[in-house]
C-alpha cells in the first residue's frame, strides 16, 4: 500500500492554540514546543510528510519582520516542498495572506493559511467564546483546519488562500466574519475558492495567471494610515510625515475637498486614496477602489518597498497584480 506522500512545510507564527488529549490548552510559544504540539495531531501524518518550522510564538505580534521571515523560509524551500501551510494569528491572518500574495506573485505551489479560532494565550476575555467552541465543536477548530489545509496543498490555486471552517477563501477576497464562530473568515463578495463537506470541493473555473513567477521580498511598514471623515477637517502636524515614507487614506466620500487636496500635495510623499466604490482622481495621490481595505494597505506597503520612483509606484498601485481588484 505504499504511496508517495507530499512534503509540506508547516510554518508556525501563532494561531496554534489547541486542546490536548487532556483538554488542556496548548500553543507553540517557542521552537521547543513544536514537537510536542505536533504530536497532539498524529493523524496529520496520514496526509503528508510535514516539516514544521517555528517562526514566532503564540503571543508575539506579527510584524513585517515576521512576514519577511515567513517569506524567506518559503523562498528557501520552494525546490523541496510540494506546498506550504502557514499557521498564524487570527487577527493578522488576512494581512499575512495578502503579504505573501504580493511577495510571491504567480507562484505555482500552494500557500494555505489557517489558524485556530482563538489566538493568544490571554484567556481572560475569551472564556465564554472558548467554552462555546468547546461545546459546539469539541475544540478550537485547528485540527480540522489543518487536515483540510493539508488536503488541498496539492491543488493548483491562483494564489495564497485561507482555509478556515468550511471555506477556502482567496487572500484578496477575505474579510473577518464576526457573525459566525465556525467560519471566522468570509469572502467580501461571497465568492469562494472552495467549500468543505466530506472533502474540499474546489471551484472549477478558477482563473490562473499566465505571468511568470516573481518574488518581491520587501515590505515597508513606514506608512501612515488615515481614515477621512467627510466634513471633518484634517489637522495633521507636518512633523509626523518625517517618520513615514507613504500615506494611505480611506474615505467614504467620492471626492476630496480642495483643502484636503492641498494638504496631500504638501506632504511630498506617495499617497494612496481608497474608497471601495470609487473616488475622483486628484493631483498628488493615486486613487484605488474595488479591492478590500486590507488589500489596499498591504499593497501600499509592498509597492512602497519595491518601487522607489513615484511614477512606478503609482502605476503598480493601479495594476491588478494578484486579482486584488474584483470590480
Amino acid at each position: 500500500m505504499a504511496r508517495k506522500k507530499k512534503k509540506i512545510i508547516l510554518l508556525l507564527a501563532g494561531g496554534t492554540l489547541l486542546l490536548d488529549k487532556e483538554a488542556k490548552f496548548l500553543a507553540v510559544q517557542d521552537s521547543l514546543d513544536v514537537d510536542h504540539w505536533l504530536r497532539q495531531m498524529p493523524e496529520l501524518s496520514i496526509l503528508a510528510d510535514i516539516e514544521p518550522i517555528f517562526i514566532s510564538g503564540e503571543d508575539q505580534e506579527i510584524t513585517p519582520q515576521i512576514w519577511e521571515k515567513i517569506a524567506n523560509k518559503i523562498s528557501n524551500n520552494l525546490g523541496n516542498a510540494d506546498g506550504f501551510i502557514v499557521v498564524s494569528k487570527t487577527g493578522q491572518l488576512i494581512n499575512t495572506a495578502l503579504v505573501l500574495g504580493f511577495i510571491f506573485q504567480n507562484i505555482k505551489k500552494s500557500i494555505i493559511l489557517t489558524c485556530s479560532q482563538i489566538s493568544g494565550t490571554d484567556f481572560l476575555n475569551k472564556k465564554e467564546k472558548i467554552n462555546k467552541l468547546k461545546d459546539k465543536h469539541g475544540g478550537l477548530g485547528l485540527r480540522s483546519n489543518l487536515i483540510n489545509a493539508l488536503q488541498i496543498t496539492d491543488s493548483k490555486l491562483p494564489g495564497p488562500a485561507i482555509m478556515s471552517g468550511t471555506r477556502l477563501i482567496s487572500a484578496v477576497q477575505a474579510v473577518k466574519n464576526y457573525h459566525d464562530d465556525t467560519n471566522i473568515f468570509a469572502s467580501f463578495n461571497d465568492a469562494y475558492w472552495g467549500k468543505v463537506g466530506f472533502g474540499i470541493n474546489i471551484k472549477k473555473d478558477l482563473k490562473h495567471s499566465t505571468k511568470q513567477f516573481e518574488i518581491f521580498k520587501k515590505i515597508n511598514s513606514k506608512i501612515l494610515i488615515l481614515e477621512d471623515f467627510p466634513g471633518v477637517e484634517w489637522s495633521v502636524d507636518r512633523e509626523i510625515f518625517k517618520k513615514y515614507q507613504g500615506v494611505i487614506i480611506k474615505t467614504s466620500a467620492q471626492s476630496i475637498d480642495q483643502n484636503k487636496q492641498k494638504q496631500i500635495a504638501s506632504w511630498k510623499l506617495p499617497v494612496v486614496l481608497y474608497n471601495y466604490q470609487g473616488i475622483l482622481s486628484i493631483e498628488g495621490a493615486v486613487v484605488i477602489s474595488g479591492c478590500t481595505w486590507s488589500a489596499a494597505v498591504v499593497k501600499t506597503m509592498w509597492a512602497l518597498a519595491n518601487f522607489k520612483e513615484l511614477a512606478d509606484f503609482n502605476k503598480v498601485m493601479k495594476q491588478n497584480l494578484i486579482g486584488e481588484f474584483t470590480v
Binding site: A2, M41, E43, H137, I147, Q151, T182, G197, F198
Partner: protein, 190 residues
C-alpha cells in the same frame, strides 16, 4: 446507526460491503450522496459512529477521511485484502496509544469479509462511546410522575436523571427480546 463508507477500489468487494451494511440496517453515508452536514458544520462526521474504509490502496481521499474521523474521535475500520501490506503511516497510527483502540485494521478474504464487518459492528455496539450521556432527550411528564421522581431522588440520594438512566438500563438488560435482537442484529440470511 450511521456509518461513512469509502472504498478506494470500487470493486465487487466494496459492493459486498455496501450490500451487507444495508441489509443489517446501517445507514450508509458515502461520496455518492455528497455527504451530509452540508450546512457548514466543521464536524462533518457529526452523529456518525464510524468510518469504514475498504481497498488495496490508501488514496488521498481515504487518508483525508481517516485523518478527519480520527480527529473527531470516531472509530475507523480499515479492511484490506489479504496479502496487502499496511501503509506505514497507518501502522504508526495503530501503534499510537491515542488511536490504537479506535483504529482497527483487518485483512480479509472473500469468504470472511462479512464476518469481519459483523465483528466490527458488534464492537461498536459494545463500545464505551455508546454509554456516554451525550444525547439530550426532552420528556414531558405528569405532575404525579414529577412528584414521584422528586420523592425518589431524595429517598435514594441520587439525582433524578441518574436514577431514571439506571432504571432504563435495567429495563434494557431484562428485555430478552431486545437482547436477542442485539445478538442477531448484524446477521443476514444467506
Amino acid at each position: 446507526m450511521k456509518i461513512y463508507f469509502y472504498s478506494s477500489d470500487k470493486t465487487i468487494d466494496s459492493k459486498h460491503v455496501e450490500r451487507y451494511l444495508k441489509q443489517v440496517g446501517i445507514e450508509i453515508v458515502d461520496d455518492s450522496k455528497g455527504g451530509i452536514n452540508q450546512d457548514a458544520s466543521v464536524k462533518p462526521f457529526g452523529k456518525m459512529e464510524a468510518l469504514i474504509f475498504q481497498g488495496k490502496n490508501l488514496d488521498a481521499r481515504a487518508g483525508y477521511l481517516i485523518a478527519l474521523a480520527l480527529s473527531q474521535n470516531k472509530e475507523v475500520f480499515c479492511l484490506l485484502p489479504n496479502g496487502n501490506k499496511i501503509d506505514g503511516t497507518l501502522q504508526s497510527l495503530k501503534d499510537d496509544k491515542n488511536f490504537n483502540k479506535r483504529l482497527k485494521i483487518e485483512f480479509y478474504q472473500n469468504t470472511d469479509l462479512k464476518q469481519k464487518i459483523f465483528d466490527f459492528l458488534k464492537t461498536l455496539d459494545k463500545g464505551d462511546i455508546r454509554d456516554l450521556f451525550n444525547i439530550k432527550y426532552t420528556l414531558r411528564i405528569s405532575r404525579r410522575i414529577s412528584d414521584y421522581l422528586n420523592w425518589k431522588s431524595k429517598k435514594v440520594d441520587m439525582p433524578k436523571a441518574d436514577w431514571l438512566r439506571n432504571k432504563i438500563k435495567d429495563v434494557i438488560e431484562r428485555d430478552d427480546d431486545y437482547q436477542q435482537y442485539l445478538q442477531d442484529r448484524y446477521k443476514t440470511r444467506e
